[in-house]
Every structure is written in C-alpha cells, then in structure tokens.
C-alpha cells in the first residue's frame, strides 16, 4: 500500500510500545517521529483543515499514549496508529455533520462539465496546490473515499470495512469525488460560487 510506514520488525514495535507504556518520554518521541508525518498527511486531507488536523493528530497520539500498553503486536504499530487516526477522523466528520449542513452537496450534483472542446487533464500538469485545494472543497463522504483510495492507495473492499459501507458505495463515492475534482480543476478559471466561499467557515 502506498502509504506504508518505514518497515519495522514486530519485535522492535513491541519493544517501543512497551517502553511507551512505561511512560518513557524518549520512546514516545521516537513513536511520534516515526509515524506523525504519515498520520498528519492522512488527517489533513481527510478533514480538509490543517488546524483541525493538528488537534486530531494530538488526540491520536495522546490516545495512543494511553492505550499503547495494550498493544500486543497483532498488527504493526504503524497500522495500529493508522486505524486509530482514520477512526478519529470519521468521528470528527460525523460529529460535524450534525451541526453544519454542507451546502456543497446541492451544487453540481453530477458534474458532467464541458464538451469535448475542452482539452483533457494531464496528470503532470495538475498543480499540487490546485488539487489539494480542490480536495478540500469536496463533501466529506466522497472526500474520505477519494483520499483513502486514490491518495492512500487502499482497495475498495478495505475502504468498505474501514468506513462501514458497501464496496459498491465506495466505488461510487470515489467516482463522484473524481468527477467533482474534475469540475473544480477545469472550472478553476471562473470565480467559485457564493455558497462555497461561505462554506470556508472558520479558519
């Protein structure tokens, strides 16, 4: 899988976990240095906000610090943390949904944009910044699926398990995300619709 952490032996993982469990501050820092980057990368794109990602990263590591004493080595330490991060993101997104109605869902539902006159996108010509910004603008559901599938490299059946949805839903969410991204990237010339700039919300 693309987002794989630097490989580490099961023995090393277990030892680090035990040292953390005993409250060893150097071990905890080692854990952070080894895994924070990958988790932060995932979280930022999942929740589309760097500020929230910092909070969630903090929460993940503090939860890990509390629970690492129970780590038995069933998976690698990296995977264990990764799953925790995904769950924290999903909890956050679910909690947010009840408070804030996302206006973007009403916009551009099917995204069949422009006729063939418009030239196709070339991967190498898509600016990283434009793509990151476009991903931020996606509605939560399809953004999650897109990040896990296209960015992090999971398979649909794995995503289905992680998100508690069917494989078919995972596929259609990824498709929906790609079509919206396509619309954003190709529509980059025109000013964003009013509702989207209101959706920018609090920094």
């Amino acid at each position: 899988m693309r987002g794989a952490a630097t490989p580490s032996s099961p023995a090393a993982d277990l030892e680090l976990a035990q040292r953390c469990g005993r409250g060893d501050p150097d071990a905890f820092e080692q854990l952070y240095r080894a895994h924070a980057g990958r988790l932060y990368t995932l979280i930022v794109r999942m929740v589309a906000s760097a500020e929230t990602a910092e909070d969630l990263l903090q929460e993940v590591f503090l939860t890990a610090y509390r629970k690492v004493g129970n780590f038995r080595g069933d998976s690698s330490l990296g995977t264990w943390l990764y799953r925790m991060a995904v769950n924290h993101c999903l909890d956050y997104l679910r909690g947010r949904q009840s408070k804030m109605a996302r206006t973007t869902d009403s916009i551009d539902e099917d995204g069949m944009v422009e006729p063939a006159a418009v030239a196709p996108l070339v991967a190498s010509a898509i600016s990283r910044l434009d793509l990151e910004r476009a991903i931020e603008r996606l509605p939560d559901g399809c953004r999650t699926a897109f990040v896990l599938h296209d960015v992090e490299g999971f398979q649909h059946h794995e995503i289905a398990t992680m998100l508690g949805i069917s494989e078919g839903t995972s596929k259609s969410q990824v498709h929906k995300a790609r079509m919206k991204l396509r619309a954003f990237l190709k529509g980059a010339m025109s000013a964003p619709p009013r509702a989207l700039s209101a959706q920018a919300g609090r920094v």
Partner: protein, 231 residues
C-alpha cells in the same frame, strides 16, 4: 451504450476493475465518443495526481503541544515517568484527576485504574458545546497548576515575559466579561472573550513546552558536564 450510461462506469474502467465484457462495451463507446474519452483521461489523470501527492509535515509546535499534554496526562495518572522522577509524589497525587489538554476536541481522560474513589473527570467538566467558557476556564486552571509549580526551571527573563503576557491576556478576559455582562448579545465581546481564552491556553501550553525543553536541555547539559568529569 450511450454517454449517460457509460460515464458512471468510467472510474471503474480506468482503474481496470471491470469484467472483460463490460470493459469491451466501454472501449466500443469510447472509440466513437471524444467527450467520454476526455472524461476517461481526466479521471485517470486525477487518480495519478492524487497518488502523487506529497507527504505533509506536521509543524514543529505540534510535537511540543503533544509532549506537554502527555506530561500532564502522565502526572494525572500518578506516573513516575522519566520527565519528573524527581518531583515528590505527594503533590502530584493530589492533582491526580487533572487531565491532559485535550479540551480542544472535547475528549477527556479517564484517570488510570484508581478505582471508584476517584471522580471521573467526564462528570465534573461541563460538555464543551453547552458551556465552552467553563470548559476553557477549567483547562486554564489545570494548566496553571502545572506550570506555576515548575516555573523555577525557566530563566527569570523568560518567566517574567510569560507572566507579563498572561497578565495582559487576563485583563482582556476581564474586560470582555464585563462587556458581556452589560451586553450579553454583543458578538464582538464574545469573540474577544474566546480569543483571549484561547490565547491564554495556548500561552500556558507553550510555557509547559518550554519547561520541558529547559528540563531536557538541563539534563543534556548536566549529562555533558558529568561525562566531562568522568573522563
């Protein structure tokens, strides 16, 4: 197959996740349809671009916050961890239920295995959404307990500057609260109050992080001196 039946299949098509017969049908349509060919190419490009996004680096201050919060958490569970093995246990034990600074996302720590005698913090602290001000106030009280106790690690100028800053922020908090009593609906008074409360928490967390850095620096300095003596 026409455009509207083909288009929803294009993601699966570019991912090569289709059965032979289905992809043959799509091939057929694409041969004659420039519009769908463009869409297919776009989807493939987006997938590739998504997969090439670079890893991001968390800002350095995040680690400091985590380390500070972990230390507070460790104290809360009465742990004798390396950071403060030299602190007398008695003072720490009494503050056993003070939890980590996880207030920002509203999660709270259950103190480690102390049985039923220890009150659960979740009962004590009002939920963030219903009374955010109380939530901040309690978080501030917790942080102040910890930082006031260990201030002596910092050099006088730093401690002085931090305390002067805290005084300014406290004045801002007092003024905002007074304004809110006169005009409870004032948005700017509310904004000012929460901005000041957030700033105070941030400053206290930074202070805690500095204390840790100093301690680590002192330990390293002490270790260096020791190794020179032993040479």
């Amino acid at each position: 197959m026409n455009c509207s039946t083909c288009q929803p299949l294009l993601s699966a098509y570019v991912d090569e996740a289709m059965r032979a017969e289905e992809s043959a049908a799509v091939d057929e349509h694409l041969r004659g349809c420039a519009a769908c060919r463009v869409v297919a190419q776009d989807l493939a490009s987006i997938r590739v671009a998504g997969g090439s996004l670079e890893p991001l680096i968390p800002p350095a201050h995040v680690w400091h916050r985590i380390a500070a919060a972990a230390e507070t958490q460790t104290r809360a569970s009465g742990f004798h961890a390396g950071w403060f093995a030299w602190r007398p246990l008695a003072a720490v034990a009494m503050t056993a239920v003070l939890a980590a600074g996880l207030w920002r996302v509203g999660t709270l720590l259950q103190p480690a295995g102390d049985g039923d005698s220890t009150p659960q913090l979740a009962d004590v602290v009002p939920a963030a959404e219903s009374d955010p001000e109380a939530h901040y106030t309690l978080a501030i009280a917790r942080l102040e307990e910890v930082t006031t106790a260990d201030q002596d690690v910092l050099d006088q100028e730093t401690a002085g500057a931090i305390n002067a800053g805290l005084t300014v922020i406290d004045e801002a908090i007092t003024e905002s609260r007074a304004a809110l009593r006169t005009e409870p609906q004032s948005e700017s008074a509310q904004e000012s109050l929460f901005a000041a409360l957030r700033r105070k928490v941030a400053l206290l967390q930074e202070m805690l992080a500095l204390i840790n850095e100093m301690r680590k620096g002192n330990q390293e300095g002490a270790a260096r001196i020791l190794s020179e003596i032993n040479r």
